[in-house]
């Protein structure tokens, strides 16, 4: 990701509409657990939207609904105007752990979605190679996941999500399992990647700083049942750097989000 303007074609970003979505789970004792409560959200094509919330607030549930891995109890989700009933072909997902298949090489891992969709491998090989180059893993195509560091593995997972040219990239705490230093680098690399690719990103995190640094829009979720408490537009100039973190706007956004969590009892005021 050293060079933010490589040959990877810019993608058309998908529009996402979440319309009064509720999700409840049936519990063993017969009761219902309300995970998401009437969420409404509309995301413009190409936007980077981050969702911050405490553990168990339903943010991962929301993501799995958008990914088509589960169906909402009520309401509906539209991607480019089309209702999500099953996983959408042009949506890539990056999970908290890299979930690489240890018996496949880096390249074979990246091409897994292409294989599953029954597309021609040769058609996507050049794109996969460019993506690898872009994340600084040129020359690692033939390596196995066990030969890579945690950061390199998660970069591979990001390439795997991007190889299918997703109009929408869903990221579920993608850097949560990485060490702090690797995480710093991954955050700024992700920004560079997104600036060059231009797809829509829905990014879930519990780091306030990560959200403000990366997103055009930060949504703050309340503890369960998850509702959107705050919809904050972040208009700090891009590309943002570590210096942006000392900007007054950055600090104001951070404390505004903190304020919400303090009011909700997620963070103490000390």
């Amino acid at each position: 990701m050293k060079d933010p303007t490589p040959a990877t074609a810019r993608l058309h970003g998908a529009a996402v509409a979440i319309e009064t979505v509720t999700k409840s789970y049936e519990l063993r004792d017969g009761g219902d657990l309300l995970a998401l409560d009437r969420c409404d959200l509309s995301i413009t094509p190409g936007a980077f939207v981050a969702i911050v919330g405490p553990s168990g607030c339903g943010k991962s549930t929301l993501l799995s609904l958008v990914a088509g891995l589960a169906r909402p109890s009520t309401g509906r989700i539209l991607i480019d105007g089309e209702e999500v009933r099953r996983p959408h072909a042009k949506v890539g997902v990056v999970f908290q752990t890299d979930l690489l298949l240890y018996w496949r090489t880096v390249m074979d891992n990246i091409l897994l979605p292409v294989e599953i969709k029954g597309w021609r491998r040769e058609d996507y090989l050049p794109r996969a190679e460019r993506l690898l180059e872009q994340v600084g893993l040129a020359g690692f195509a033939g390596k196995y996941p066990s030969e890579l560091s945690g950061g390199m593995r998660q970069r591979t997972a990001i390439c795997r999500a991007l190889v299918q040219e997703p109009g929408l990239l869903l990221m579920d705490e993608p850097f949560g399992a990485l060490d702090a230093l690797t995480r710093e680098q991954m955050i700024s690399d992700l920004q560079a990647m997104w600036l060059s690719v231009g797809n829509t990103v829905l990014f879930i995190t519990h780091s306030i700083e990560e959200a403000v640094f990366l997103a055009d829009r930060v949504l703050v979720m309340s503890p369960r049942p998850g509702r959107i408490d705050l919809d904050l537009t972040v208009s700090i100039e891009r590309p943002r750097s570590w210096r942006s973190r000392t900007d007054q706007a950055f600090i104001d956004h951070m404390s505004q989000i903190r304020g919400i969590f303090e009011a909700r009892g997620v963070l103490s005021k000390e």
Partner: protein, 263 residues
């Protein structure tokens, strides 16, 4: 000598000792047996020496080979049936909760029955031919294969399934792309336990009623107080176990990705 050289030498010595440990120990034991048995006044009739046993195998190799061939056939055939049925049963247990609930207690009950006790009955049902031996080999190998396969299939990270489902994978694709490859190490563990038990199953079958096979040969030799031949048959049974096990390991090396090798 500089420290680096000394360290290298220490490593080399260590490697040699580690590799040589097993064969040296085996040789020492055999040597003790070879020297000890006559010293203790044991005749070949009671306890033949390793050399006598080996000489007997060499001398009677044609006879032994014929019987070994029969036992090998019974073992492999019984094992193959157990592998197919075992993996099939494991898949049904994995995919159907009702089947799991219904079959597991039965399987465990079946496993607890001493199979040796079944052997005479099997002869009654299936006669003197291959059938009861195949069945015993199958019966002994079946359980560990089922259990190991189920354990392997259930060990898969649920997030992995979500990952491929998010790519739009069908259950069929999920199975062949991730479930099966992820279960293979455990599955092979079950197969390896299974094949060594299949040898025992086939030999037990031959003990009870047979006209061929190493178990039969061993029993005949004992009946005729030919202790050396009896021992020779035992050695070949053990060798059969080692060879079939090793065959599976070769297959495993080709089929299963070696995690360690890539490191």
């Amino acid at each position: 000598m500089d420290p680096k050289q000394a360290r290298r030498k220490r490593h080399l010595v260590r490697a040699v000792v580690e590799t040589a440990a097993a064969p040296v120990l085996a040789l020492l034991l055999l040597l003790a047996w070879q020297v000890g048995a006559p010293l203790a006044g044991l005749s070949a009739f009671i306890l033949p020496t390793p050399w006598q046993i080996l000489s007997r195998i060499a001398a009677d190799h044609q006879l032994i080979a014929v019987h070994a061939g029969v036992t090998l056939f019974e073992t492999v055939a019984g094992f193959l049936i157990a592998a197919v049925a075992g993996v099939g049963t494991a898949l049904m247990i994995f995919y159907s909760r009702i089947f799991e609930r219904a079959i597991y207690p039965l399987l465990v009950a079946l496993q607890t029955i001493p199979k040796v006790a079944l052997a005479p009955l099997l002869v009654l049902y299936f006669g003197y031919g291959f059938a009861p031996k195949l069945f015993l080999a199958f019966l002994l190998a079946f359980f560990p294969i089922v259990i190991a396969t189920v354990v392997g299939l259930e060990g898969l990270d649920k997030a992995m399934v979500n990952l491929v489902r998010s790519m739009g994978a069908s259950e069929w694709q999920t199975f062949f792309k991730i479930r099966l490859p992820a279960a293979l190490p455990s599955l092979f563990g079950g197969l390896k336990v299974g094949i060594s038990l299949a040898v025992i199953g086939a030999v037990i079958g031959e003990y009870v009623a047979a006209e061929m096979g190493l178990g039969y040969l061993q029993l005949q030799a004992s009946a005729q107080f030919d202790t050396t031949l009896s021992f020779a048959a035992m050695v070949v049974i053990a060798a059969l176990g080692v060879v079939t096990f090793w065959g599976l390991e070769v297959l495993e090396k080709r089929a299963v990705f070696q995690r360690e090798a890539a490191r």
